[in-house]
Symmetry: C2
Subunit: 155 residues, 2 copies
DNA sequence: CTATATGCAAATCGTTTGCACCTTA
DNA sequence: TAAGGTGCAAACGATTTGCATATAG
């Protein structure tokens, strides 16, 4: 849903700015992520890149993903019972519909978050059975701790 | 926030109905879950129960949790980068605030889900940096597949 | 009595790490 | 050529599983 070139350029730009090198393998990983539909796993990304680089290792994929994660250039969907999924196409946090039958991951298009479950169900045809809504951030104690640690300089 | 006895009775009732046996170890696990504040991990549950049953194994905790999960009597919060957390006190899905600093898990009290991030932030004092909103259910294809498999009998 | 639970140890499996060898800039 | 990346293999760690023994009902 994103002009693929935009996302690729954004990722490349960030890496260059951070002083990272653009290797052929890395470029290929970025390309796969930039057009990622269906929230691929690290394994899937590896397989696709391996088409062009038979020696490519899974570890390299994970290492590149780690860099992009901290950069906010890729969204990681964590699971404990199956492999994590990645979205380089829409790296901002957004709601997902996850099928408990086949594992498919869809993006409901909720402009506001008000509508929520019923809207998501209507749009995707999902029969929603449960949901997961997590907020990630810093609790008051950690905010204070961090502020103190950085000598009152805001992040 | 729940009358502890209620939750304990609910879990016990379900287990009995399902033909499960109430062993002393299991009863102790249920008690820990029924009063669980702070979303304990399997490890934490094990440690607490081990106070009364020194021979108690972690595997037994996991096995009991598995039964309760399928019964909907305990809520599992899955993570890939750390151990899962469990809530036997409020087994229905509900939003959480997860501190990226110390890992604390709080329950914001959102009567409606409209308010969302800003309300959660105001209530808990969290500085919210990202969120996770997942809907779990069945996609249209799997609904059809399941309906066909069960001979048109609805679940 | 008999189906079920316990608890130990070993297996799983996605992910991470160490390290020697390459490559980009 | 120096900082950084690659890729192999080994390590990790939470969770699961197999199986012999114990026990609830």
């Amino acid at each position: 849903m994103n002009p693929p070139g935009d996302r690729l350029e954004a990722m490349l730009g960030w890496l260059r700015h951070a002083g990272c090198r653009i290797t052929p393998q890395r470029l290929e990983i970025l390309k796969v992520l930039a057009v990622s539909e269906g929230h691929p796993s690290a394994e899937t990304i590896h397989q696709r890149v391996a088409t062009h680089f038979p020696t490519m290792s899974l570890a390299t994929v994970y290492k590149t993903l780690a860099v992009l994660k901290t950069a906010g250039q890729v969204l990681e969907l964590e699971f404990s019972d199956r492999d994590n999924r990645y979205d380089g196409n829409r790296p901002e946090p957004h709601p997902h519909c996850i099928c408990q039958g086949c594992g498919a991951i869809l993006d409901p298009d909720l402009t506001s978050l008000d509508a929520l479950a019923s809207l998501a169900a209507r749009q995707t045809g999902f029969r929603i059975q449960s949901l997961r809504l997590d907020f990630y951030g810093l609790c008051p104690a950690c905010q204070a701790r961090r502020a103190a640690a950085s000598g009152n300089k805001p992040a």
